[in-house]
């Protein structure tokens, strides 16, 4: 009997090691508070619910490191991609695991909204779960607006008028710069094409029905050029202003507005000292276009490393994240507070009813963030959403905009030349099948 108990005991110990499940994640680009929250709240909740241990390493978030590790057959189990347009490179190289089996097993098709579900496909297979819902908005300093009797602009003309007045008063109109993050220039481009040319035109260009040289895009690019040349963007110092300084300038009232994305919700709260020092409105639209329009995008996609030792455990981790608002509302509220709208992936079954909104407010989620979630959900329903470059433009076209728009602003390249170049690069990528799913307008 003693021998039997001993054998059982040994088997139990061995099984603990043999059956123990774990996954490896990379932590990148995190503020201290975000990291603490992951380690102390998010990972433990997931671990206690599933019995799967989350191992982590802190790694640089750049693609070069990830690519080098994947080529070497290593890397994290859960592969974080900067957006769906980056996925084809990894998929074609055979670094990722097709997820159709797990999507079925964990009902991702029933969870994800139609747009997000379709964005996960490439060449007929489901490869990634898009997350981090984001959109372009206009941040502003309510105190400055109140003191000067201005109202937050709803049209491009109103925005330009208020920008000119700000400049006259010595206030930086837009706290925008690209030092530290060169792609910040594409935020301005995204805002312009979606709110001046309009999402219908952008859709037609992305689906190859009209070229990027269409007069509506000429007008959009010319507008961005004007914003820079008038000295509105970064007070004329766009190319030497650090992106990290924007929040400070805005909350201190040194700048009046910022053409920014909703990822800023999670960051600006760390600088804010009173509810009066920042707010946001949907980015103004050109007269004749709907208002509000939200140029939406995906800031992150989760895929599974082909060499993950326990892909099912990784799939459970992804499912946990997707179901967070449904199963763990208080954890989701904390997530929103720490990470802003990056915490949110639109899913079916999670509706911002009055009850949910009140609960989120009780849990301390900023009203301004909740307002965005509500308005952007309505934009989906009313078909007034647009497209951000880093999600819907293929990679080379996206890079072309980042590298060349500044040449237009500085007068080194004409708008026509810029758009012709974009058309050429875009056509090449479209031929290669690099344009991902573009959600239709109805």
């Amino acid at each position: 009997m003693k021998r039997l108990i001993f054998v059982l005991f040994i088997l139990m110990i061995l099984s603990t090691f043999v059956l123990a499940r774990d996954i490896l994640v990379w932590l990148s680009w995190l503020e201290e508070e975000q990291k603490e929250w992951l380690l102390e709240r998010y990972f433990p909740t997931f671990e206690s619910e599933t019995g799967i241990k989350v191992k982590y390493v802190e790694m640089p978030g750049d693609e070069e490191t990830l690519r080098a590790q994947l080529i070497a057959g290593k890397g994290p189990d859960i592969v974080g991609l900067a957006g769906p347009s980056f996925a084809p490179l990894y998929i074609d190289a055979g670094f990722l695991l097709p997820l159709d089996e797990y999507a079925k097993k964990y009902h991702w098709d029933e969870l994800l909204t139609d747009l997000y579900w379709k964005l996960g496909f490439y060449k007929g297979k489901f490869w990634m779960v898009p997350g981090e819902f984001e959109a372009m908005v206009l941040f502003y300093n309510p105190k400055i607006f109140k003191e000067n009797g201005w109202t937050p602009p709803r049209t491009i003309r109103e925005m330009e008028e208020v920008a000119a007045k700000m400049k006259e008063k010595g206030i930086m109109p837009f706290a925008n710069g690209n030092v530290g993050w060169k792609p910040a220039i594409e935020w301005v481009f995204t805002a312009a094409v979606n709110h001046i040319a309009g999402p219908e035109k952008v859709y037609e260009a992305l689906t190859g029905k009209i070229p990027w040289t269409d007069p509506s895009f000429v007008e959009s690019v010319e507008a961005t050029k004007k914003w820079f040349q008038e000295g509105w963007l970064g007070g004329g110092k766009f190319f030497s202003l650090d992106v990290g300084e924007v929040y400070q300038l805005l909350v201190e009232g040194k700048a009046g507005m910022a053409i920014w994305g909703t990822w800023g919700f999670g960051d600006i709260v760390h600088y804010s000292k009173s509810p009066e020092d920042w707010d946001w409105v949907p980015f103004p639209s050109k007269s004749g276009l709907p208002y509000p329009i939200f140029a939406i995008g995906v800031g992150h996609c989760d895929a599974i490393n082909k060499n993950a030792k326990d892909p099912d455990a990784v799939a459970q981790y992804i499912t946990f994240g997707l179901r967070e608002p449904l199963d763990h509302l208080s954890l989701f509220a904390e997530d929103l507070k720490v990470n802003g709208t990056a915490a949110y992936t639109p899913i079916k079954g999670f509706e911002l009813t009055e009850e949910t909104v009140n609960k989120l407010k009780e849990l301390g989620v900023d009203e301004r963030m909740i307002r965005f979630l509500k308005l952007s959900t309505e934009a989906f329903e009313k078909n007034t959403y647009g497209y951000v470059t880093w999600t819907f433009w293929p990679p080379k076209s996206d890079r072309y905009i980042i590298d060349n728009l500044e040449m237009v602003w500085l007068g080194k390249m004409s708008t026509q030349e810029f758009l012709e170049g974009l058309q050429k690069v875009f056509e090449e990528e479209a031929k290669e099948g690099k344009v991902m799913y573009i959600p239709p307008r109805s």
């Binding site: 693609e63 490179l89 190289a93 030497s240 890079r399 040449m407 500085l410």
Partner: protein
């Protein structure tokens, strides 16, 4: 036995220098995204590069950078080194250490310090004095970065030249003084001719390094604004890693090697002409 002793070094050189060099040359003739198998495309990358006006503007930036570094830091280094020759050995040691300090600081720290303290667009000291946004203006961005880089570089040169001056026989200076030569005449007729091989060597190395310059530019402006501070190395990096055109990136890198080879060839030619030494 001697040859066997050389083997580890040869293997290391082969692995670290020769293999990557051959690979770079091979990939320059391919279309490769860094992920999938490369496809051989002949001279296509070179045709694209040479017909792109951006490439030539970038080469011109490297030439401007070279012109700056073969003149300003060398002159500053020579002045400082010759002045060090006139102070006590204790003071010389202190000054040499001070001159060398900026050089040993990590480039990232130097770049950020200058960016924040001197060239910040809103409250930088130099920005304030001249009321000009140096790093954000295309006409001044490259020069501003050159000044930042030079902050550490001229002090290093001063140390190198000072070490060369230390090797000069003091009798030459005694004779010059007895002949009534002033400081400029001493420098022109004694110091400079005696350290000319060192100066020439540093000039040639400066030209080579100027065509390979990367870190300060990438940290501070990433080649902007509007490619005003773009150089061959940043263009190579951005083409390979940002535009995901590794083949083309390798092609640009090989042209960079060609440009850097010109001063090397010149140096070797000069040596051979002078019978093995400069």
């Amino acid at each position: 036995m001697t040859k066997i002793m050389l083997l580890p070094s040869l293997v290391l050189i082969g692995l670290i220098i020769i293999v990557p060099s051959i690979a770079t040359i091979y990939y320059a003739f391919t279309s490769w995204n860094g992920f999938t198998q490369p496809t051989f495309i002949g001279f296509q990358n070179y045709r694209e590069i040479f017909s792109d006006k951006v490439y030539w503007s970038v080469v011109w930036n490297n030439i401007k950078w070279t012109i700056f570094f073969v003149t300003i830091p060398i002159i500053l280094g020579l002045i400082a080194a010759s002045e060090l020759n006139n102070v006590s050995s204790r003071a010389k040691g202190i000054f040499k250490t001070i001159f060398l300090l900026p050089y040993v600081l990590p480039s990232l720290a130097t770049a950020r310090l200058w960016q924040i303290i001197f060239f910040h667009p809103l409250h930088g000291i130099i920005t304030g004095i001249f009321d000009h946004d140096f790093l954000g203006t295309p006409t001044t961005a490259l020069w501003a970065i050159a000044i930042i880089d030079n902050w550490g570089w001229w002090g290093f040169l001063a140390n190198v030249f000072s070490a060369a001056i230390d090797q000069i026989d003091k009798a030459y200076y005694e004779i010059a003084r007895l002949e009534g030569a002033n400081r400029w005449q001493v420098f022109k007729n004694v110091t400079l001719p005696m350290i000319l091989p060192t100066v020439l060597f540093m000039e040639i190395m400066t030209i080579i390094w100027s065509f390979l310059v990367f870190e300060y530019i990438f940290i501070i402006t990433q080649g902007g604004p509007g490619r005003a501070s773009e150089v061959l190395a940043t263009l190579t990096y951005k083409t390979a890693f940002f535009s995901i055109e590794f083949g083309k990136g390798c092609a640009i890198a090989t042209t960079m090697i060609l440009f850097a080879s010109i001063p090397i060839a010149t140096y070797l030619w000069l040596i051979s002409k002078k019978g093995g030494e400069l």
